[in-house]
């Protein structure tokens, strides 16, 4: 399935896009998204441990399965305030 992933802050600058579309297997998890992103953008592997993934505006846990049509977003360490 094709899934759109939004990018922000330094992740957006590294990739050079505000969003990317990934081709994922059904039943994919957070780790599958990061593996895919790393294979396409190897620079991400330098700081991937600091990244979180959100689905439909909520932080994902390791057990959550990606739903087709969901809005995914890579969340770098936040710094609001």
């Amino acid at each position: 399935m094709k899934i759109k992933v939004l990018l922000f802050a330094h992740t957006k600058e590294i990739v050079g896009e505000e969003a990317v579309t990934l081709d994922l297997d059904k039943g994919g998890k957070e780790k599958d998204v990061f593996e895919k992103l790393e294979s396409l953008y190897p620079e991400i592997s330098n700081f991937k441990d600091s990244l979180k993934l959100a689905m439909n505006g909520r932080y994902m846990t390791d057990n959550d399965t990606i739903i087709e049509g969901a809005e995914l977003a890579v969340i770098p360490p936040v710094s609001g305030g």
Partner: protein, 136 residues
């Protein structure tokens, strides 16, 4: 109520939103852009937000604050885009029947907003360097 704005925040009108005849106290937090990081001079900051998620996360946080503390109302605003040194980047206001609840709730709200809201700041220094900041 929580909003993300790209113009100067009107602190007074934001604080006005939490006034209540049931309240005997209003506590507020105003975050401003510091002109120094260590010994380096900051020129300005640029904030970026994942708007829809930030609104959702912070509204959830406000619900948590209302459950945890005996308060009347809570409101907040965060600015995005370029924010100059000395300008306001974030405001939170809380009203409660008594001051302790208002102050504690306000502190809990800003501490957790900084942890959970998908908002990022990039620091632009006077020496021409810039970098994304992490709160942790």
């Amino acid at each position: 109520m929580f909003k993300i704005v790209d113009k100067k925040i009107d602190c007074e009108s934001l604080i006005d939103k939490v006034y209540s005849t049931k309240a005997g106290a209003v506590s507020s937090f105003i975050g401003t852009v510091r002109g120094f990081t260590g010994d380096k001079q900051v020129k300005y900051l640029v904030y970026e937000a994942y708007r829809s998620m930030a609104l959702k996360q912070v509204e959830k946080l406000w619900e948590e604050v209302k459950e945890k503390f005996d308060i009347e109302k809570i409101a907040g605003a965060h600015r995005v885009g370029k924010v100059n040194v000395g300008e306001v980047s974030v405001v939170i206001a809380v009203s409660a029947a008594h001051r302790h609840a208002a102050i504690q709730a306000c502190r809990h709200a800003i501490d957790n907003l900084k942890k959970i809201a998908p908002i990022w700041k990039k620091e632009f220094m006077k020496d021409g360097k810039s970098c994304w900041i992490s709160n942790n």
